[in-house]
């Protein structure tokens, strides 16, 4: 335990910041080129992904190493908590922007367009809609069926994760491992079903504002579930290696917070994107 470590841990000089800068530069530059059909784009983008993977792996490895070497005292632990909390807050705001777009489209722009009879004589307000200019028929996604099942899956995964946490608190390592593994499995099933849903969907991201908001919101959510599942897998791996104990397990908690955040976002998605 690191309680007796009085001073705040200050890391020494590090190359990781520079590598993060280089990898984001490659990613941004490469992706820009790909979007604009410049030949060099793809290799640069791939180089960016590789360096980002190297960065995340290397940096987290270093931090985990410092953690197990007991360099961190209570105060550092608290810093991590503040940091993770505000990171999740920033993610909430990111989704807030997209939900805002959804509400605006449904309650403001679509009714206004329907009122603009001079420009769009035949358009009637309603939801879902692909707008007045795109008239191809499409079938919207209903809430009951796959989305409802996915809701149950994610809610259950929240329960299994909490159960794993109890296991950690009570030092029941098997319960911890089983709970984590179940959570990851449920996350994977969720992602599989989500991909299945995309494949079967009767509309695309180009299906007007409905398609745009649907795919951007569920897509970014899916991306977050993927990241959460990967992080859970890393935590499981660390648990296997014997990391964490009942009073020193912030890594576990951070990922758990993240997972619950992703859960809550899904509930909003289920209500506002699929259901209402």
């Amino acid at each position: 335990m690191s309680q007796d470590n009085k001073s705040y841990f200050l890391p020494g000089p590090s190359f990781w910041p520079l590598i993060s800068s280089i990898s984001l530069f490659l990613l941004a530059g490469g992706f820009t080129m790909m979007l604009n059909k410049v030949a060099m784009g793809k290799p640069i983008f791939i180089a960016g992904i590789i360096s980002l993977a190297y960065l995340l792996f290397g940096w987290f490895k270093e931090v985990i190493g410092e953690s197990v070497s007991k360099f961190y005292n209570k105060q550092v632990d608290k810093s991590f908590r503040w940091g993770m909390g505000f990171f999740i807050f920033s993610e909430v705001m990111f989704f807030f922007g997209f939900f805002g777009a959804l509400f605006y489209a449904r309650n403001v722009s679509v009714p206004w367009l329907a009122d603009a009879k001079l420009l769009w004589p035949d358009f009637v307000a309603g939801w879902p809609t692909s707008g007045p200019g795109l008239t191809e028929a499409f079938t919207a996604m209903g809430p009951w069926g796959l989305p409802a099942i996915n809701t149950l899956i994610l809610l259950t995964s929240g329960v299994t994760l909490t159960w794993a946490h109890w296991g950690l608190m009570k030092n029941k390592r098997t319960q911890l491992k089983v709970g984590l593994a179940l959570t990851i499995l449920l996350g994977a099933i969720f992602l599989y079903l989500q991909m299945h849903e995309y494949a079967e969907a009767g509309f695309t991201i180009k299906t007007g504002i409905y398609g745009a908001t649907f795919y951007m919101l569920t897509g970014f959510h899916g991306l977050h579930v993927t990241m959460g599942a990967i992080m859970l897998a890393i935590i499981l791996f660390r648990v296997m290696k014997g990391h964490f104990n009942s009073h020193d397990h912030f890594g576990f908690e951070a990922v758990a917070w993240y997972w619950h955040f992703v859960d809550v976002v899904w509930l909003f998605l289920f209500i506002f994107v699929y259901w209402l």
């Binding site: 007796d4 470590n5 009085k6 705040y8 841990f9 200050l10 890391p11 020494g12 000089p13 590090s14 990781w16 910041p17 520079l18 993060s20 800068s21 984001l24 530069f25 941004a28 530059g29 992706f31 820009t32 979007l35 604009n36 940096w59 360099f71 105060q75 608290k78 810093s79 503040w82 940091g83 505000f86 807050f89 920033s90 705001m93 990111f94 989704f95 807030f96 922007g97 997209f98 805002g100 777009a101 605006y104 489209a105 403001v108 722009s109 206004w112 420009l119 809609t129 692909s130 707008g131 007045p132 795109l134 991201i205 007007g208 504002i209 409905y210 398609g211 745009a212 795919y215 951007m216």
Partner: protein, 529 residues
């Protein structure tokens, strides 16, 4: 682990023995002072670059007709001038000051996450490269204004994508930097430094960091929608698909208005630090300053659509945003009155930082009052997108934010370098900057009222005289900043030895450490009474 002070150096062991020198000192830095220094130099470089773009703008506007650049290039100049000044110059300069001063002011050994701190800085470099390099791609740099309104920005070329990704990267940098600052302030204060004892600069930065974390992700979302509209067939901002170009403006300004306060609140903090020092008198109304700052921050999230009064919102929306905007002038006024009351019956001296601060109070208030004029919706109908608005936001951003930064730099320079700057040259810099600034921007109120739209490369002849005056002022303003560079370099290289306290009236932890501040400070937390 040992608990003695002697041994605690070993805890951050790699720190004391393998201390890189030369370039690696900066590249691999985890030291808040070095990172602060890098931030400040970076922002100065960007300030000069974006300033050079402004010189291009003013050269073209010197006379009616087209002389130097074609309209499409002119639009690129205005767009990148805005983007780089905001994201490259003003914001990083405030972060640089925060990096240097926040740990010193609260008695912390460093920032809470030193490596992330360095990452926040190094992410600025690719973003700056993307923005500056965009001038050289086919079609030139982004030309749809710094606000990037669609559908115009959907029309643009590759440079718009570069700008969008630059904003994404800057967003990551700002969010990580803000998380770092908030965590540092909440978790690293010296024992006894309660929240209500914190220096005002720390308070304003705490609230600014909140604004950044809340606003930057929304901007990221807005530009993400823009890029999918550009390349992946979404219709967020396209009426044919049920979207609305004005939706972008709502999302953008939901970020954009807090952004305005992100760029002014730390400036308020600097003023609240400098004025008491040179008035030799405690800050008047500390508590009300804190509450006013918080009130401004909260209100900043409900005023965004005052940037959109001419988009044709329903009456209810227009009234709401007009009233909420007017309301912001109440806490802002409280701040101005508090500064005046701080000066009142003080024992004032007018070194360069104080000159800048007094000028900021005076000139910022002009910007604040013209802001109130713009808040009155019917009047704004005439002023929206005219040079009046250009004058207004330069009074707020240049004579508010940029001049506060300059004042702050003069104020803390002796602490950073261990030398006093050249007071005489500093005063020259102050007077040339202040006069040139007013010559540049004051006439713009009149050109705007008389009906000159902004973002035009050429204008009707009735505006010729005032534009010529503005251009002359702008060149003088640009050249004055070279003097600033000279004074700073001269101060780094030598000068009168600075004492620890530096200023007779200075109070606070940062003045208890040596000048120049040693590489590591407050490794043993000081006790604040």
């Amino acid at each position: 682990m040992s608990t003695t002070t002697a041994a605690h150096h070993d805890d951050h062991g790699h720190d004391s023995h393998a201390h890189p020198t030369g370039l690696m000192r900066w590249v691999k830095s985890t030291n808040h002072k070095d990172i602060g220094t890098m931030y400040l130099w970076f922002s100065f470089a960007m300030f000069m670059f974006a300033g050079a773009l402004a010189m291009g703008i003013r050269a073209e506007l010197f006379q009616p007709g087209l002389q130097f650049v074609q309209p499409e290039v002119f639009n690129q100049l205005t767009t990148l001038h805005g983007l780089i000044m905001i994201f490259g110059a003003i914001m990083p300069a405030f972060v640089g000051l925060a990096n240097w001063q926040v740990p010193l002011m609260i008695g912390a050994p460093d920032m809470a996450f030193p490596r992330l701190n360095n990452m926040s800085f190094w992410l600025l470099i690719p973003a700056a490269i993307l923005l500056m390099a965009s001038f050289f791609v086919p079609g030139g740099a982004a030309s749809g204004g710094w606000t990037m309104y669609p559908p115009l920005s959907v029309q643009g070329g590759m440079s718009v994508d570069m700008t969008i990704f630059a904003i994404h990267i800057l967003g990551v940098s700002s969010i990580v930097g803000s998380i770092n600052i908030i965590t540092t302030i909440f978790n690293m204060r010296a024992p006894g430094m309660t929240l209500m004892k914190m220096p005002m600069f720390v308070w304003t930065w705490l609230i600014t960091a909140y604004l950044l974390i809340a606003a930057m992700p929304v901007l990221a979302g807005a530009v993400t929608m823009l890029i999918t509209d550009r390349h992946f067939g979404t219709t967020f901002f396209n009426a044919a698909g049920g979207g609305d170009p004005v939706l972008f403006q709502h999302v953008f300004w939901f970020f954009g208005h807090p952004e305005v306060y992100i760029m002014i609140l730390p400036a308020f903090g600097i003023l609240s630090t400098i004025i008491p020092t040179f008035a030799r008198k405690p800050l008047f109304g500390y508590a009300s300053m804190v509450y006013a700052t918080a009130a401004i921050a909260v209100l900043s999230f409900v005023v965004w659509a005052h940037h959109m009064f001419t988009t044709g919102m329903p009456v209810a929306g227009q009234l709401f945003f007009m009233y909420s905007t007017m309301l912001i002038s109440v806490p802002t006024g409280v701040k101005v009155f508090n500064w005046l009351a701080t000066m009142w019956k003080g024992s004032m001296t007018f070194e360069t930082p104080m000159l800048f601060s007094v000028a900021v109070v005076f000139l910022f208030t002009i910007g604040g009052l013209t802001g109130l004029v713009c808040a009155i919706l019917p009047v704004d109908i005439q002023l929206q997108d005219t040079y009046y608005v250009v004058a207004h936001f330069h009074y707020v951003l240049f004579s508010g934010a940029a001049m506060s930064i300059m004042g702050g730099v003069y104020y803390w320079l002796p602490k950073w370098t261990g030398h006093m700057y050249d007071e005489k040259l500093g005063k020259w810099h102050f007077w040339t900057t202040t006069i040139a600034f007013n010559v540049t921007f004051f006439p713009m109120h009149f050109t705007g009222l008389a009906g000159m739209p902004r973002r035009i490369p050429d204008y009707s002849q009735q505006f010729a005289e005032f534009n010529m005056i503005s251009s002359v002022g702008a060149f003088a303003l640009g050249i004055s900043q070279l003097l600033f560079l000279y004074v700073v370099i001269k101060c780094i290289r030598g000068g009168t030895k600075a004492t620890n306290q530096v200023w007779e009236g200075a109070h606070g932890l940062e003045w208890t450490v040596a000048s120049p501040a040693p590489f590591h400070t407050f490794e043993t937390p000081p006790q604040v009474k």
